[in-house]
Amino acid sequence: MGYAVNEAFRSFKERKTTTFLTIGVTTASLFIIGLFLLVTVNLLEIIDIFKTRVEITAFLKDDMDKENIEKLQKEILTIGGVEEIVFISKEKAMEEFSKELQDTPELLSAIKTNPLPASFRIKLEDRFKTKEAVAKISSMIENMLGVEEVRYGEKTVERLQKIITGGVILDLILGIALGLASIFVVSNTIKLTLITRGDAIEIMKLVGAKSGFIRRPFLLEGFFYGLFGGFFASCVLFGLYKLVTIKFHGIIFPVKELVGGIVIFGCVLGYIGSAISIRKFLKM
């Protein structure tokens, strides 16, 4: 192992420019990936806040008596995904409505009888706050006896969902594209190392070195490119975060997950990059 580490570091010393460029490219790729992940994480957090507001309102027919209302409430509660249900009576609805109309009392006085229906406000469990689930639960409620109409923030639910999927897809595409770029650069650098070490490799094979022993320094070299790239990218990202939080509070930076993720991803990319070159040029 000591031999492999020495050999890997010898490559860095012998070709400083290449090493610098390789680490530079992995750093840049991992930084961009990290940045987009960070944006996604924060977006998800904002969406989470919005999500708690997603609720279904079921308006009731006017002819419902107290007993029927209670029966209906129990029935709705049996639907999977319903977390909480609040009854809003006609009077309560009027009260809330009046508050909204406080500034225009003339409009309020024009209302003689209470035209507002009683309703249930139904809160859902978080994982049921998708477009499909909300729509399904709504239609189930709509078909129940005594329900006049069901409303939910169709548009909000839909929009939030689009943002989430869009963000995740963008992250994935970027992750794959920049990941491939890093793999490509590392594998090219390792190719250079393999070429300059050609004689040593030939001699190693000749004197009976096992393929694992021959491969190890090169795999380690690729791994180090990813490790350093991940480390530097994390540093830059964290620095940027610190800078931005001076002005904007409440930005989330999940240090362990993000830094850990970037560094591990970098190591994996570096390892794959060198493995590809070794496979291609070592032919063993």
Partner: protein, 229 residues
């Protein structure tokens, strides 16, 4: 018998027959020359022995390894028992004499202490102690070949394959190399030396396997040659 070629042919690039129907046996402790002009197939024959090339048809057995059944992961083990030296020495230019010899033990993961003892032993045998800290470019061709021999010997191989070992060495150095190979053989290591140099072969009472166009044209016993010398 430690090496056996059975009906071996080697075809390069679809239709270039470098070896054609070779049948050959090498016994333990033998010293044999492989004599033939350039292109006769000597190097290919040696490569088949250390399994750098696989026969296109036929089978070779080296110790208890067969080309038909050996697995990739066993080849390093075979090579630890077969020493090879070349015309161009194949030394590592960034390592000194000691480290070049130590290299073949390092890659097997041997203990540092063992490596040091073994390398010093070999350096003494080769009378190269005074060169141990020098780099290949600082020593003569003959000495470089001795280092290569040392690298092969330190593994205590049962056979030493020498591919034109004197090709890049001046006449004086050549003589020294041949004497060294004789000594090594006298201590029990089998030697198979490929050469196109008839003069070297003529003066020595060893077995001569003559090759031409990928075929064995003659195989003269060492004892008979001794009588006629």
């Amino acid at each position: 018998m430690i090496i056996e070629f059975k009906d071996i042919s080697k075809v390069y690039k679809k239709d270039w027959r470098a070896l054609n129907d070779i049948n050959l046996e090498i016994d333990k402790g033998e010293f044999a020359f492989l004599l033939g002009p350039t292109g006769a197939g000597k190097s290919t024959l040696l490569k088949i022995i250390y399994m750098d090339e696989r026969p296109t048809t036929g089978e070779i057995t080296v110790l208890n390894y067969s080309s038909k059944t050996i697995k990739g992961k066993d080849i390093p083990h075979l090579r630890r028992k077969v020493g090879v030296i070349f015309q161009d020495f194949k030394l590592l230019s960034d390592r000194n004499v000691f480290d070049n010899i130590a290299f073949s033990l390092e890659v097997t993961g041997a203990a540092k202490k063992y490596i040091k003892r073994k390398v010093l032993e070999v350096l003494t045998d080769l009378r190269l102690q005074h060169r141990r800290s020098q780099y290949p470019y600082q020593i003569s061709g003959g000495e470089q070949q001795k280092v290569a021999i040392g690298r092969a010997l330190v593994k205590e191989p049962f056979i030493l394959l020498a591919d034109e070992p004197t090709g890049n060495v001046d006449p004086e150095g050549s003589e020294e190399i041949i004497d060294l190979l004789k000594d090594i053989n006298a201590k029990g290591t089998t030697i198979l030396m490929a050469t196109h140099n008839l003069d070297i072969v003529k003066s020595l009472p060893f077995r001569v396997i003559s090759m031409e166009h990928g075929e064995i044209k003659g195989d003269e016993d060492g004892l008979r040659r001794k009588r006629s010398l």
